[in-house]
Symmetry: C2
Subunit: 326 residues, 2 copies
């Protein structure tokens, strides 16, 4: 489309020039793409395709005082790509809708896009298009698109299945707590919030070994456990002593139970299916795979405390309609 | 997911309750959907799939003084679905990212979503998911997904092809001009802006009859003609006397040339391929199909005026990075 530059006009074509500069940041063109960015839509030859989107708004999901523009982009794309992991899908591409406020200059826009591209390319996907506008706030909607031959749904658990989580929980919430307290989070906590790694390869590995219900921990363990158990028509019982709290990041049990946006996975698998594979998981992916409870007939989520007694677990996950608490 | 209501928590679950109310507004579940809204992603069995997104931001793309919430939703989805029309794709589904500001209550959110659903269902698609957050502004990112066996790209024109447009142009720009002048637009102008009809069936009909380059008029004829000609490596020459100005909406030639967001189609087709079909197009779709010029070797866009002289056509389309002029 270089010829269009010959057409001068009062609006200067800033939008299209920026789009060209963003596309030039790509190191890979997404596979299975028969029509690339630059046309009205991207066209994908693969099927079945999983498509999800994740909206990140300044002041709700992040603050510019906390993160660099590249981290804001990485985090927004990581959240969207985590939705693909939660289906055991294989990422192909992302689309980016970017709303830039007056404080965001061209370099910021390029850094935001670079973060999105980095997060996508880290899991084998690539930027395939999007839309940009100037507006009253900074916001990103990232659309994640992936091959999904055998979706693993959140509602696939059966009574008696064990519940497992990947990685360690609460680091992202610990970082937010530090910032709100006016302190700097530890590097480990900061990284958990700023550059979440969607568990894409992990999800497919687990699906091959028997995971039959899967969800990513975007709203917090208490909330997402309620989603998985509820969609499966079951009740979840968690063991507080088993929760893998991200103590290296300074997280407490409350951070691990209710802090959203760790983007680890929660899964249900038949007893005996995954136990033997947990050490291999740790070795392969560098993070633990931990049994934290069971699903059974009933409804709701219960937590067995250190005293051995089960109590209903209140849902403390983040409500994106409630805004970010001060 | 009704069981999750048994899990009380400090955040109240307002986000999930609203999502359930929005999904209850659907009259159809999208076809080719193997995993519906309510899981982490929607999964589509169809291939190839075209995927595009369109971002609508208050103060940039619309104003609440001008449109009802349902119209804002309809217009945002119409714009996204028009990107599918521009590929000659067949819409299947939309995803909605909705950022609600403090002025938007639950009824507004439901009306916005109803507008999106109405626009989608009018062209055979359905709502298949999305994301909602409270933020400092009202914004919608609509992702449009459609079957696209034979994409018609914007860069497919060959020298000597004739250029055609569907419908009448300038009505949406005329409405914006009226609002800016402090007057009410005519019903025809208002409808052109508020409830654009993506030319989905028209695009497929035209593709079957020889259209080999296609773009929708979202940025304005002058800008989108530059996109089509530039992507094809050609120059466009338009005839001012041939442009189908939406005079019933009170539009002038300038509105038709530079006013964006009519969401009509611009296409290139070999001479002789479509001429005979134009009356049938008008009869079938209720809007004219008009030859407005040619593409030829060269670059840029030229307009032949009533005096018979050709002059470069300055690009006056809307630059979404420039913000909405006051």
């Amino acid at each position: 489309m270089t010829r269009e530059e010959g057409v001068a006009g009062p609006t200067g074509g800033g939008e299209f020039a920026l789009i060209r500069r963003i596309l030039a940041l790509r190191r890979v063109v997404p596979e299975a793409l028969t029509v690339d960015a630059g046309d009205d839509c991207a066209v994908f030859a693969a099927a079945p395709l999983a498509v999800g989107n994740d909206l990140s708004v300044e002041g709700v999901h992040f603050r510019r005082e906390w993160l660099s523009p590249a981290e804001i982009g990485f985090r927004a794309a990581g959240a969207a790509l985590s939705d693909l992991a939660a289906m055991a899908a294989e990422p192909i591409a992302v689309l980016l809708a970017l709303c830039l406020d007056e404080a965001a200059d061209t370099e910021d826009a390029l850094a935001l896009a670079r973060g999105v591209i980095d997060a996508a390319e880290a899991v084998g996907a690539g930027l395939a298009g999007g839309d940009i506008a100037r507006g009253p706030m900074l916001a990103l909607d990232v659309v994640a698109i992936g091959r999904c031959a055998t979706p693993v749904r959140r509602g696939g658990a059966l009574a008696g299945d064990r519940l497992w989580v990947t990685g360690r929980l609460g680091g992202a919430a610990r970082a937010v707590r530090a910032w709100r307290e006016g302190t700097e989070p530890t590097p480990a906590a900061r990284a958990a919030f700023a550059t979440p790694r969607p568990r894409v390869a992990e999800a497919r590995w687990l699906a091959e070994r028997g995971a039959r219900a899967l969800i990513d921990l975007s709203d917090g363990l208490s909330g997402d456990c309620a989603h998985l158990a509820g969609a499966s028509g079951l009740e979840a019982a968690l063991d507080a002593t088993a929760i893998p709290v991200d103590t290296a990041a300074g997280a407490a049990l409350e951070d691990a139970l209710h802090g959203g946006e760790d983007y680890e996975l929660l899964l249900a698998a038949p007893p005996g299916s995954i136990e033997d594979a947990a050490p291999a998981f740790h070795e392969r992916f560098g993070v633990p795979l931990t049994a934290i409870g069971v699903v059974r007939a009933g409804s709701g989520v219960y937590l067995r405390g250190v005293d051995g007694r089960e109590r209903p677990l209140p849902r403390g996950g983040f409500d994106h309609l409630g805004g970010m608490p001060a």
